[in-house]
Symmetry: C2
Subunit: 348 residues, 2 copies
DNA sequence: CCTCGTTATGAGAGCGCTCTCACAGAATAC
DNA sequence: GTATTCTGTGAGAGCGCTCTCATAACGAGG
């Protein structure tokens, strides 16, 4: 048996009023007599009538739905931002459709097309890039449709004219380096992704800038790259691990899952943290307190990113004033734990 | 500037054909001449026309959208199932709207109302209960609307007539107990939630059934309950910890976050795992290999639950045969790691 | 010749709503 | 008295599609 929604006409007929008057009751506008309102509300209640959101969207041109395109909901960064966004928008009567791109430009584009078909009122996107660091075609499309959009995490260049909420990634890398330098480390590996993600690249730049201030040259062979296929997924093992850890005394991992790769590979090669190698990660992971080693990390305010993005997006959608084009860069902090060790006391 | 979607009429006008012929082209049905098709497709491409999903839903009565109501997307169980569901349905042209109930019947009901307003084609729900173990009003509503629904994780009773995908929770608890008994433990605490969630209760029942087979009586004071406010959220600290661990030699935590509570509280009281207390948890957590202690756990096939639920739901929505009312119970396995210790070798 | 079936197209109804407009009766103003 | 406002209601257009039905042109079969 197919579902049968009763319509406003049914309510009108059963209550003895016109469709227009019923609409006035459910929409709370215009003049309606006390008598009519009571009668109509009784019928609505009796037949458990819910107005069709689809028909309303048809008329209003608004769906009260927001799309979210991100890497993978299983990633902690993604689900924390998703929850934060949802919390904000639900309070305004909006819902969230979540799409996972898995760092694939093709799937990202497909997601956008689906969301465009669904006629979402706005979009939050953490965009991915191709191997040349170029963003996908979604931004042309977004522009063409003039679809309210906020970009999170990975900052797209200002020329796209799309607001961005991100963190000071350069500062994050810089602080990680400064900290390791202060512990006496100078041979430091960077575990990162081959995919030229702008946020991750900024972390690296910040990191190397700090090293260069100390006269340490940036060496390409000290960058350990994780293939793009794995960069978007949870660390699952099976990859061919890096083995040349002996050259280094410390490691900086530029994102949460890369810390896991680093730890896994080090363990496999028999290096222990922080005895043989110090490790600084990026992003707090859940249940950190029971991790071993307890990772020293650069922390970004993940939930805050989602909240701000949601607020900016609602603002844009509901057109409350020309707040216009913004780029918000939130500060990062460092959480010092036990995965890092001073070389000075041990070796010098 | 507001977005302006161009409509099928615009395409019709620009191509010199009627709305009906354009509809034939985009819908790939009926007779269309080669000439007309080429002309219309060219115009569609040129103006980057996408048919309105809202209008289509208006006509077809289908939105190609599925709702998911669950506890909290940040919870690993939830985001793994969400991803699995999304992967399945996207392949069939469906999207997922995710709602978080946070174990609140009120929010659960609000979520359903929102989804009903959005006219989702189907629903996957991991339902919550009140303090009396009663399910919320959502199932009456679902029934009334005859909305295709699959229940996951928490099995609702057969009388509701709603298909269920869950795991053999009783067996999970039973195996956990058997294992601890085999290590010589007999004074075992159960860390669980005060909220009478049916899946969790079944784990407890299985656990106590095994104990009773050995003549060990179920003792109410050996159940350590976590207040419902915290049960739905990630373990965040701040709660008043249980302290009477001294009476026990082992602990069974009935869900992933409860393991965290247990570990945190034990640590706070100076007990170490598995030296002072053995711990068996439920559900693998991410990054387990770097946890300390490495938890021995009962493992449920989380992604499989989502996949099966999605497949059953699509089946119901698209009405492919009267597969009808199913209850799928997947098996659980045990992963033995280092949070458990035999009493026999140590104590006698 | 007329009658088919096939191909190609358009007119128009209808999905369930919102909202403008018209209108009618009551109350108020002059 | 008439003019004006306020209050309450309904008719109907229109949102962008899909799909049925009507129509017309054409070749084939009788």
């Amino acid at each position: 048996m197919a579902r049968k929604h009763i319509s406003i006409d049914t309510i009108a007929r059963l209550s003895g009023y016109s469709r227009a008057t019923v609409s006035r009751v459910i929409g709370s506008y215009g003049y309606v007599s006390e008598k009519a309102r009571n009668r109509i509300e009784a019928v609505i209640k009796k037949y458990n009538y819910h107005p069709s959101g689809v028909a309303r969207s048809m008329v209003s041109g608004k769906t009260h739905t927001i799309g979210l395109i991100q890497t993978d909901i299983r990633n902690a960064f993604c689900n924390i931002t998703a929850k934060a966004i949802e919390d904000v928008i639900v309070g305004h009567g909006y819902n969230l459709i979540i799409c996972n791109s898995g760092e694939s430009l093709k799937k990202e584009r497909q997601s956008l097309d689906l969301l465009l078909g669904k006629q979402v009122d706005g979009l939050v996107v953490s965009p991915t890039v191709d191997m040349d660091g170029k963003f996908g075609s979604i931004f042309d499309e977004i522009r063409r449709y003039n679809l309210p959009t906020v970009c999170i995490d990975r900052p797209i260049p200002p020329r796209f004219g799309i607001p961005v909420v991100t963190v000071d990634n350069h500062q994050g890398g810089y602080r990680a380096a400064k900290y390791l330098l202060s512990l006496g480390h100078s041979r430091i590996a960077v575990v990162t992704t081959r995919l030229p993600l702008p946020n991750v690249r900024e972390r690296e730049n910040g990191f190397y800038d700090a090293l260069e201030e100390q006269g340490i040259r940036r060496m390409e062979e000290d960058r350990i790259e994780i293939p793009p296929i794995q960069s978007g997924r949870e660390a699952e093992g099976g990859e061919t691990p890096f083995e040349g850890w002996g050259r280094f005394t410390a490691v900086f991992a530029t994102a949460n899952i890369f810390s896991i790769y680093a730890m896994r590979w080090m363990k496999k090669c028999g290096y222990s943290i922080p005895k043989d190698l110090s490790l600084v990660g990026f992003d707090d992971l859940l249940y950190w307190e029971f991790m071993s080693p307890q990772l020293t990390v650069i922390v970004q305010p993940i939930a805050r990113i989602g909240e701000l993005a949601a607020e900016m997006l609602l603002h844009a959608i509901e057109g409350r004033g020309p707040k216009g084009f913004e780029r918000i860069v939130l500060p990062v902090t460092m959480e010092e734990r036990s995965s890092t060790k001073s070389l000075c006391t041990a070796d010098g």
